[in-house]
């Protein structure tokens, strides 16, 4: 090439590089502002962040900027396609061994809904009562404390086919501290209320192929050893065996870290056995299914495309006994909101909030039973799917979230004439010091 021609080519290439990028940024920017904003994500089955309202206070606190950035990213043009492309690129980062993948998840991702994703008033389903509708509009369904929610499931997930399985690893020292903490309650409540403990096994125990077993700790042995540490005054509940006998059923969500109502039912059956109750057969309750399938927390963390193709469905069972739910929000431990047991309008990633509307410091379920039997459950979110089954057998069910409850638990038990106290925790929570610390805090 001649020098002049070379120079010309050079300049053309420089111009191309600079101008294509500059105009590219500009045009996409104009589109991002000018195009109609989507309000829901089809693949994630959730409502997208809404445009924040500007106010002087929200601006100076920095909240407006943060919300606006979330809104802008959430409603970016072709968002769903871009997210899918990102997950396709992620799968190029390495090789897959067999049919499994491991995802590292982190606390930031497990976070609470950014903008009321749980229950937008617009998506209230047709069969919801007028009362629940009002509640949906009036109360905030944000969990009381964003940070603590994340503690429920931090860790890696093992994705096998279309199911994400949070990896469990035992921690005997922390389990010992959990048992010691419950022993203090058993001691304090001795003669006043009977104390039960139920440790819920997690999905990886039942759905991980044998050849990968070394990735996780065996759970039967772990639960047994926790139960051995328990004080003699505590009655332990063998939910493991009941659940293990029904693993062909839909007991755990594939895309969410919780169990299904059906999974909780078998724990209820085990509890009834331990407490000398007659469990109500599953068939005698009314089965309902939320009309919207959902992709839960584990999908949100992993963005795995196999999970996306097979969303979860939410089944729930309505006992024949009627019940109302009084929920106590953080900061108002004495004045409840009257609401329903099930939030039938729940959609999106936090669909599990169907049960008891999510996590509240205290939910008091009052049933039409007049048998004088009162029970208190101390739980994290796994307990939410379990509590409704107790409607069959009790007059009052007090559901305490160990993370948010603000009162003295033993005193509360005495004041409300509660005869039975059930500490129900998933296997992770039973050996996580933060959870145990929260439990011991309720003692004083």
């Amino acid at each position: 090439m001649k020098p002049e021609k070379q120079r010309f080519v050079q300049v053309v290439l420089y111009c191309a590089n600079a101008l294509v990028l500059l105009w590219g940024f500009l045009i996409v920017g104009i589109l991002s502002v000018g195009m109609e904003k989507p309000t829901i994500s089809e693949i994630e089955k959730r409502t997208l962040a809404a445009k924040p309202v500007f106010s002087v206070e929200s601006f100076f606190s920095g909240q407006f900027s943060r919300d606006f950035e979330a809104y802008y990213a959430d409603t970016f043009p072709c968002r769903d396609a871009l997210v899918q492309t990102a997950s396709a690129f992620n799968s190029l980062k390495g090789v897959t061994l067999g049919d499994m993948r491991v995802y590292e998840t982190n606390a930031a991702d497990t976070g609470a809904p950014a903008n009321g994703e749980v229950a937008p008033a617009s998506s209230v389903s047709a069969d919801t009562t007028a009362e629940a509708k009002n509640d949906a509009e009036n109360t905030s369904f944000l969990p009381p404390d964003d940070e603590n929610i994340t503690g429920e499931q931090i860790g890696s997930s093992f994705v096998y086919k279309d199911m994400a399985l949070p990896i469990f690893w035992e921690n005997p020292d922390a389990a010992k501290r959990y048992a010691d903490c419950l022993a203090k309650y058993a001691e304090r409540l001795d003669g006043k209320a009977k104390v039960y403990n139920l440790v819920i096994p997690s999905s990886i125990e039942f759905y991980l192929p044998k050849r990968y077993k070394s990735v996780t700790s065996p759970q039967r042995k772990n639960i047994n050893s926790i139960y051995e540490l328990m004080d003699d005054k505590i009655t332990t509940v063998d939910a493991y065996s009941e659940i293990a006998a029904h693993t062909s059923e839909y007991l755990y969500f594939r895309t969410d870290h919780h169990w299904t109502a059906r999974g909780a039912y078998y724990a209820y059956k085990a509890f009834a056995k331990a407490a000398g109750l007659t469990p109500t057969p599953l068939e005698s309750m009314e089965l309902r299914t939320l009309d919207k399938p959902f992709l839960g927390t584990l999908y949100s963390q992993t963005q795995d495309s196999n999970l996306a193709q097979n969303p979860d469905t939410l089944e729930y069972f309505i006992p024949s006994v009627n019940a109302v739910n009084y929920q106590y929000l953080t900061g108002s431990p004495y004045s409840p909101n009257k609401t329903t047991v099930w939030a039938e309008y729940a959609v999106g990633i936090y669909s599990y909030s169907l049960f008891l509307h999510g996590d509240f410091p205290l939910s008091h379920i009052q049933t039409e039973n007049r048998n004088g039997k009162n029970i208190l459950m101390v739980k994290e979110s796994f307990g939410n799917a379990f509590a409704p089954f107790l409607i069959n057998n009790y007059e009052n069910i007090y559901v305490v979230d160990q993370r948010y409850f603000q009162l003295n638990l033993p005193a509360f038990v005495e004041q409300n004439n509660i005869q039975e106290v059930l500490f129900i925790n998933n296997i992770f929570a039973a050996q996580t010091d933060i959870r145990t610390h929260e439990l011991s805090r309720l003692f004083t």
Partner: protein, 467 residues
């Protein structure tokens, strides 16, 4: 605001460039740049933008006083005022809580601990204005008579929140002579896209592993997992920080400014001395020129000078003992290298690389854990003293799932690609057209992938909130 952010990429950046480039008039451009920079800062720091303007105004005046009264007591007073106020701002906002806490512990008091939220970038801009007044005093630069130009230098958004620390002496002439050619724009975009990819595609991803392995229950970490976690942090902090510097350099270039190099492949260094010639150069040279040398440098009390310099370097990174320990750790081993074995590792390069990698990786653990108890637990895990350690099968799967990404991260922390590019160009000069057209394609692909990642990624940390 930060650069790796969709609003910055698609709204702020194109608007800024178009308003800036549309009229080739320096005063107009200075004002556009100030307005955009203040908007950039206010978006993330709506209250403390006042502090930035205050600091700039003050040192603008101090600079003028120092020059006008050169050699007279008033110049000394203005210099002292500048040093005291800048260090005072930094001490109040960054160190007062730490100081009172330690005072309470040592003296058994219970004074209320002040808790300011640290204004973004405060450690960077206070140092810049400080370097200005000191250099005016020393006669290295002349005072800037125009307030607009000085405010533009201090508030300039490319370097505002995470450096590099651009000294006034570098900018002095550029402020009045800069132009933007199509070549500058192209080079600027090349830098910017590379930096963006380093931050979004490598640092953020490594950061996920870091939280996973280092923020959980450390008593359950196996040695392999602990090493993996801390190596991921080494990758994260390098790609995040150097990516930021690249983006800053690129943005500045698009506006007609040239910054000096801030990172020069630190992970290929053979000794710690070499490492610090390559890591965050604008910061280490600042401490060299404004702390170490004024203290006497190598000539008198060099040991004391090194200890003070590294104590302060550590402290600058955050108000916590672990950063001080981290600084002193380097100070200690730099002295050893100087006195004992530095030459040896320079000569036996493979051994030097192993030594340097090990020492720097350990230093990142000290840097990462602000809680000494957790640091202790981590070292226990790192050297295999965890009885409850979990299985390594999981780690193996993680490694397999990310193997290509890991290889890319390692390759790009070395100058291999640069070196290959130069070799090929030297052998076949006409290849440069091919590379130039390739560059456009690479930029577009990188921006596209980064956009996808940013849209889907809720994890996008800002590491410098403690600096």
């Amino acid at each position: 605001m930060v650069f790796a952010n969709l609003i910055f990429l698609y709204i702020f950046l194109p608007l800024n460039l178009i308003f800036y480039l549309v009229w080739n008039n320096r005063t107009y451009r200075n004002i556009v740049l100030i307005l955009f920079s203040l908007a950039f800062y206010t978006w993330g720091e709506p209250i403390w933008v006042t502090l930035l303007i205050f600091s700039a105004t003050l040192d603008y005046i101090n600079g003028l006083i120092i020059e006008k009264h050169k050699g007279k007591p008033l110049a000394v007073i203005a210099l002292i005022a500048s040093v005291v106020i800048n260090i005072g701002i930094l001490a109040t906002f960054k160190y007062s809580g730490f100081f009172v806490q330690n005072l309470n512990t040592v003296l058994g008091l219970s004074l209320p601990v002040p808790s300011f939220s640290l204004p973004i970038g405060i450690s960077f801009y206070t140092f810049q204005t400080l370097s200005y007044t000191i250099d005016v005093y020393r006669g290295k630069v002349s005072a800037q008579p125009s307030y607009i130009k000085f405010l533009m230098y201090v508030s300039m958004f490319p370097q505002l929140v995470a450096g590099p620390i651009v000294r006034y002496s570098v900018m002095e002439n550029q402020i009045d002579t800069r132009t933007v050619s199509i070549y500058d724009l192209t080079v600027g975009f090349n830098y910017f896209c590379a930096g963006l990819a380093k931050k979004v595609l490598i640092a953020n991803w490594a950061g996920m592993f870091v939280t996973q392995y280092l923020d959980g229950d450390l008593t359950m970490l196996s040695a392999a997992q602990a090493w993996f976690g801390i190596i991921m942090f080494a990758i994260q902090i390098y790609f995040d920080f150097s990516g930021y510097s690249d983006m800053a350099t690129g943005l500045a270039r698009m506006l007609g400014f040239r910054f000096e190099r801030n990172f020069n492949y630190p992970y290929v260094a053979k000794t710690l001395t070499d490492f610090w010639r390559r890591w965050h150069i604008s910061m280490s040279s600042f401490f060299r020129d404004y702390v170490y040398i004024p203290l006497g440098g190598n000539r008198s009390h060099w040991l004391r000078n090194i200890i003070i310099t590294w104590f302060l370097t550590g402290l600058w990174h955050g108000a916590s003992w672990n950063y001080i320990l981290w600084g002193l750790y380097f100070g200690f081993f730099l002295v050893l290298e100087k006195l004992v074995y530095g030459k040896f590792f320079e000569e036996f390069a493979p051994l030097g690389h192993i030594y340097r990698s090990f020492m720097v990786t350990i230093s990142w653990a000290i840097f990462y854990f602000c809680d000494m108890h957790r640091l202790g637990l981590f070292f226990k895990a790192l050297f295999g003293f965890n009885p409850n350690a979990s299985s390594n099968l999981q780690l193996l799967v993680v490694l397999a799932n990310n193997i290509f990404w890991l290889i890319i991260a390692v390759i790009f922390s070395t100058p291999v690609t640069q070196w290959m590019y130069k070799k090929i160009r030297a052998a076949e000069p006409s290849m440069r057209f091919f590379f130039q057209s390739l560059q456009l394609g690479i930029n577009i692909v990188l921006v596209f992938i980064c956009t996808c990642a940013l849209v889907g990624q809720s994890y996008n940390p800002f590491l410098y909130f403690k600096f």
